[in-house]
């Protein structure tokens, strides 16, 4: 069942991009379209990153191995949106004005942690293929644990960029914290695990 529905990840993950394009065509991106598309791509990247982190614990505790191939696809889509988000910042918002971009980077911690998150995701996207997985062997798993750091950095990024009311980033942060806690060995052992029938 799950294996047959797995292709749905592609249209679903591309839907926010399609909506963005649609809203662009009907001029529905607010009076400040660049900020709107920055926020939307950032938010989508974060949600996809969280979904990527959901796969492993769900499979572990509910025995749903058919979900596992989704992890790579969700992760790559998260990276796609994060890259769009970063490109919008550099190419549309700041229009390749490197002087201003460097000023932002040196002045604002939220930009610095955002960039850190993207730089951590980059090697994961590159080494997501079967070939790299084989080549890296045991080290592959260790490398891909960087997603924990990246997701935490994105939460910091979000926390530092909202104006005063931090409840929304805190809610996402709680989600990430839960998903990381489920991976701690004592928690993992303590939680029930469905054995294969």
């Amino acid at each position: 069942m799950i294996a047959r529905a797995r292709w749905l990840v592609h249209p679903l993950a591309l839907l926010p991009l399609a909506l963005l394009f649609y809203d662009f065509l009907i001029d529905n991106l607010t009076a400040n379209p660049i900020q709107e598309i920055t926020q939307r791509t950032g938010k989508t990247a974060l949600i996809l990153l969280i979904l990527t982190l959901v796969v492993t614990p769900v499979n572990r505790h509910f025995r749903l191995p058919d979900l596992v191939p989704l992890r790579k696809r969700l992760g790559l889509y998260a990276f796609l949106y994060a890259t769009l988000h970063l490109s919008i910042f550099v190419g549309l918002d700041y229009f390749f004005d490197w002087e201003l971009i460097l000023l932002e980077l040196s002045e604002k911690l939220y930009v610095l942690v955002g960039l850190t998150a993207w730089l951590l995701l980059l090697p994961l996207a590159v080494t997501s293929t079967k070939g790299w997985q084989r080549r890296l062997g045991k080290r592959w798993k260790g490398l891909h644990r960087l997603i924990y750091v990246a997701a935490s950095a994105v939460i910091l990024h979000f926390l530092w960029l909202v104006k005063s009311d931090i409840r929304e980033p805190l809610a996402y942060g709680a989600g990430v914290a839960l998903l990381l806690t489920l991976r701690l060995p004592p928690v993992r052992r303590w939680l029930p695990r469905r054995t294969p029938e």
């Binding site: 662009f24 607010t30 400040n32 190419g91 229009f95 104006k163």
Partner: protein, 297 residues
Amino acid sequence: MRAITPLNITPEPLYLNRRAFMRTFGAGLAVAAGAPATLLGAPSEPTDLPTSFKDITHYNNFYEFSSNKQAVARMVSGFETTPWQLEVTGRVAKPALFDVEELITRFQPEERVYRLRCVEGWSMVIPWHGFPLARILEAVQPTPEARYLKFITVHRPRQMPGQKNGWYHWPYVEGLRLDEALNDLAILATGLYAKKLLAQNGAPVRLVVPWKYGFKSIKSIVRIELVKSRPTSLWMRAAPHEYGFYANVNPKVPHPRWSQASERRIGEFRRRRTLMYNGYEEQVAHLYAGMDLKANY
């Protein structure tokens, strides 16, 4: 200094954001692809054309209704602005209670086209209708102890759903030093584009201090108190390290989130450099002579 002079007739610009966006989006791709800059033409001298009526009335920071700038215009329908009285009290010889209609007939609003610079890094040009705050102060006669003005927005959680958000201390409060309030640029606005103010823009009467970040220009005012000591504004209380009492537009004082060195004019694609005191240096710089502007942000 590029002060904007009042215009008799303000044409409502009809350009579409999307057009400007698409045009320059193409240019952006060309730059990204390494096209020589000459192909794209040199950037033209920045102008101060009024922002479209639609954008001014559909992109509003008015947390009393919503923190979503697009949603505000949809949320204001239940907000009653007539009748409306503005009380001016505190350290004044002649406290007064003005009816808004009376304010308009008595003080004869005129058109003032001002730049508005939001602390969030965007800006507009708005043809306000208003009269100098100094005119009201002449009428109420501040006593010698009066050193500051404290402005208060109406508190009506039933009509202003955002006021049910417990994160902030309602009602909205703002403040000015008396000499700032007496500056001719400081106005109380009652209209915009020759129409009465709409609720989302702070109807029926609001402050406009164009050399300060937009949040200083408090909306839907019910009371102005002349006081001895410096009032604490809502934003100073919410985040004291980010929002100071003065909040003068200053490209050299950074903010942890938004660029203060540059801004995006609504309806335009490229950022502009932000001007000191939002371009009103000549008129207001003397108010802050000798002050450390980094400490008094």
